[in-house]
Amino acid sequence: MASLSARAAGLRSLLDRVTTPGGLFVTAVLGVAALPVTNVIRDPDFWWHLRAGQLILQRHSLVGTDPFTYTVATHHWTMHEWLTEVGFALMHQVGGLGLIVLALSALTWAGILCIFLRARLRRPPMFVLGVGLLIGVVAGYPIWGPRAQMITFTLSCLLLLIIERHLHRGGRIAWLLVPMFVVWSNLHSGFIMGLGFIAVVLVAEVVGATLGLPDAAPRERVRTLGLVLLACTAASMVNPNGPGILLYAFQTQGSAAQQSLIAEWHSPDFHDWEVKAFELMLLTLVAMVVTNRRLRARDAALLLVTTALALQSVRHIALFVAAATPMWIDQANLLVRRVRARPRRARPLPPLTVRTVAYAAVVSVVAALYLASRLAPSVATTEASSRYATDFPVCAAQWLASSSRPLRIFNQYGEGGYLAYALSSRGDRVYVFGDAALMGDALLYQYADVESVQPDWDVIIQRSGADIVLFDRDTPLANVMARSADWMKVYEDRLNVAFVPAAKHAELHLPPASAAFTRSPTCAAHASTAVAAAPGGPGG
């Protein structure tokens, strides 16, 4: 009875806190935060990860060499995300794409929750906490979506929360990171960022203590963190690739080809409205830091590092949001306290019953909005839907699947993953797909020469042994090939167009373009009449 009444008192106290206007606001923000992180699959790399997971399950072992291309089939394949890939394959078996969308969306939202919990350690007012969270969620807009990278985002948020709790309160919580890294290093190569974060915090605390800066963590806790870092580094090597996984993670950063050719490794484009929120968050955070002039050494170091990473590559905005959002909230709180000379008198609140009803209403509305506008449509969208056919070569793949023999496809980089997923089982092979480290810089540069229609573009295609070229419509390559006498257009839909060498057309025995359009209503809607009008084209 005593424990029941204690629980009831605890519940009442919790309700009392969360049903305040501030609590209501934060709850609403946390609910709204689920909207942008829930979407259909937009990541082109998802498909080859899914297919790789299916292959691992089939073979009961990792795949040693690449099974998707005809160009780098002899390259050793470092399967650095094998656990994620197996997870995708299992979820796909059980619940299709919808289950994967649900899982990744929940995972990303859990990361935002970790940001909230970390920010709450400094006890900011709820309103400031809510505004900061909202800004962080909007700043991350360029990279939200169901993708493997969200694993690193969420685990980074969790890691920073654990580090903060440890430095703040001590105890053994930091040792939870060790098993986390065992799992992380098998899930995503972004675990290297996690190790980097621990190192950055360590160095900052040591330097801060040496310089006598305020708010330094107790030495004992910093020492423990050092040991945790060593243990986590060792734990990271517990994966099929062994210690080599540590070097692999640096390969992408050190690859000039990847950094210059792959869109998500480019610097943010501040003309893009989606990036403006990140810019606003960064500039306001800096303005608050120099105005308040109170920033812990570890926060300063994390801010510097994640800003540099985010400015280098737009995909790292997620890490900036993970690290900087609690800082933004903390600095805003300091600024509000400076500006507001006298603390406001707390206004009397309505009765708890009324507040609870209001709270339940807000939660219901937000949940209904989320379910109706984001979750249900995203989960219900199937691979054969028009939505996916708009972003991925669904119809072109169906058309190619009806060809009498496997083909070597010179494809667009971002579509290699889907084509590998849809066609590799019947023996078709692509030129390139999204595992850039596997492709190698030499192949990437050659691909770039073709995509940007450099003088040797047709020689590269011919020498690669490609049977067919499949690219997006209205790309420079497609527009040049359409006017070249050496190439014949054999397929076109609203997304893609395919060409074959005019001299080889007869021997390829390709199906008519209409073969794709009759297979599904989606593809029928994506049909283009352009091929029927093309001279000598197979037409419908």
Binding site: S267, E279, L283, A287, V290, V453, P455, D456, R473, V480
Partner: protein, 536 residues
């Protein structure tokens, strides 16, 4: 000054003379120390300025210089043209001569014999250095910034802006902005008369470069946010407001009048410009020069934080400059200019607050200032090294000719002059200005860097061909373009080759080709260092 007791007795008049002699000697000593500090500061600034000439004196890297020269020549020979004079496209926007005075000055310098191009490079390099020197001198007097910090800030900012200076009109805007910063500082220190430098400055500026608008924005920020530096703590905003209004009126004294503001608005509002032209794009932080900008911003923020916090005006000005740079990388030079005095001032403050006390406690003595003769020798030595190593190699007639041949399609232009006069030419936008200079009449040029006049429609036409949009051949047909001067390794070259164009001549120096719509039914199989193609 305290009176010292010499022999324990109160001083009589005779003794007062001896005391005042000591006092005089002390005062003289302090004055000599002040002079020595000022001299040391001047030598540091001179040394940094001389060193920066190695960065700012550049050959004609900015491709827009050529159409400015073409316009300067046209203005000198025939007066300001009423319409866009070089392109066969119909310009969407009115013709605005927003840099006519710069163009005339540039052309006059350029055409001063074989050393003309070198003189132009040297002159604009000196203007850029002057801008940084004036910006550095705009530190508040009360900050007592040492020469070392000024020199450091100048060199750092010089390196950051190195990629966007040289022979370009924007350097004029840098000088104008630096003068403005100096005037604002003096005004904040209590000198109301200093503001009356602004109207004649803006009068000139508005006829030299449309970047005077930046100056107006800085003025607005100063009026809104500047705080006093004067000992009495009062800031008379009315003189600055009056000077700003007069300056605004002065900007209308230009051949285009009020239309110059329309030109500026159309430039900024052009979506194709801001998405297609490299210097209007956001910075690429993989580039080492941009990383230097990033480092300077981080340094400035750190110095703000440990130097006691930034003044509101400084924070706002630098914040706007950073935001402008993130929007368009061409603004990095403005940021560097604004950052230079702030890094110097807050750097000194941070040094005195944190580093100097530690050094004093550790018994480390400040190094003695160099003897003026030694300082002069050092500056001369730096100057000689810079001149020999960096400046002279960029300004000799042979160097400027070689640079022109390598960077611009001089050979192909010679071929066109001999065989294709009067024909419409397609070219990449960075070569359009050069072709306008070479072929000022007959309207042979497609498009060049005066994007504010061409407007979004014409820029889009260029993009359609340059990026090989679905209608790229339609553009060529519509404008009867059957010849092109383009880089050999360009997508246009591959595309024209694919539709049967042939290489009329090849220029190895600039890696450029002249291509013409051919009558051949099957073009040569490979377009790569075209064997057999005649040299231009």
């Amino acid at each position: 000054m305290r009176r010292t007791r010499i022999d324990g007795r109160r001083r009589g008049p005779g003794r007062a003379r001896r005391v005042s002699g000591v006092a005089l000697a002390l005062a003289a000593g302090r004055s000599r120390a002040r002079d020595s500090t000022r001299a040391a500061r001047a030598w540091w600034i001179a040394g940094a300025a001389v060193l920066m000439m190695a960065i700012t004196v550049q050959p004609f890297r900015d491709p827009d210089v050529w159409w400015h020269l073409a316009l300067g020549r046209l203005i000198v020979e025939h007066g300001i043209p009423p319409h866009e004079p070089f392109s066969f496209l119909t310009a969407a926007n009115p013709w605005i001569h927003q840099q006519w005075l710069y163009e005339v000055g540039l052309f006059r310098t350029f055409s001063a014999g074989s050393f003309g191009p070198g003189l132009a490079s040297l002159g604009m390099g000196a203007v850029a250095v002057m801008a940084i020197v004036v910006a550095a001198l705009s530190v508040p007097r009360s900050a007592r910034v040492s020469g070392t910090w000024l020199a450091f800030a100048m060199v750092l900012s010089g390196l950051v802006m190195g990629e966007v200076v040289g022979v370009r009109g924007q350097v004029v805007t840098l000088l104008g902005t630096s003068i403005l910063l100096l005037v604002i500082t003096r005004w904040r220190e209590g000198s109301s008369r200093a503001v009356w430098v602004l109207p004649p400055t803006f009068l000139l500026w508005a006829n030299l470069h449309a970047g005077f608008v930046v100056g107006l924005i800085v003025l607005a920020v100063a009026l809104a946010a500047a705080s006093p530096l004067a000992p009495n703590g009062r800031l008379a905003r009315r003189p600055l407001l009056a000077a700003a209004i007069v300056s605004l009126g002065a900007t209308l004294v230009n051949p285009a009048g009020l239309a110059i503001y329309q030109y500026v608005g159309e430039t900024f509002a052009n979506p194709t410009l801001t998405s297609a032209i490299t210097e209007w794009l956001s910075p690429d932080f993989h580039n080492v020069w941009v990383r230097l900008f990033e480092a300077e911003v981080v340094l400035m923020v750190i110095l703000w934080a440990i130097g006691g916090g930034p003044a509101r005006f400084d924070l706002l000005l630098a914040g706007v400059a950073v935001a402008a740079t993130l929007q368009a990388q061409r603004n990095v030079s403005l940021y560097a200019l604004i950052a230079a005095p702030q890094i110097a001032a807050y750097g000194v403050r941070a040094w005195r607050a944190h580093a100097q006390p530690r050094l004093v406690r550790a018994g480390v003595r400040a190094p003695r200032a160099l003897h003026p003769l030694a300082a002069a020798t050092a500056v001369l030595a730096i100057g000689a090294a810079v001149a020999a190593g960096a400046v002279v190699p960029n300004i000799t007639p042979s160097a400027t000719r070689a640079f022109e041949a390598a960077r611009y399609p001089r050979g192909p232009a010679n071929y066109v002059a001999a065989h294709l006069m009067g024909q419409r030419l397609y070219s990449i936008d960075t070569w359009g200005g050069y072709l306008a200079y070479r072929f000022p009449s007959d309207r042979m040029v497609f498009l060049y860097g005066e994007t504010g006049v061409f407007g979004d429609r014409d820029l889009q036409l260029y993009e359609d061909v340059h990026l090989l949009a679905s209608n790229w051949t339609d553009v060529l047909r519509r404008y009867s373009i059957s010849h092109a001067v383009i880089p050999l390794h360009s997508q246009e070259a591959s595309a024209f080759h694919a539709i049967g164009w042939t290489v009329a001549c090849f220029d190895a120096a600039s890696d450029a080709v002249v291509m013409s719509a051919g009558s051949a039914t099957s073009p040569p199989p490979v377009l790569d260092a075209p064997a057999g193609a005649p040299r231009c």
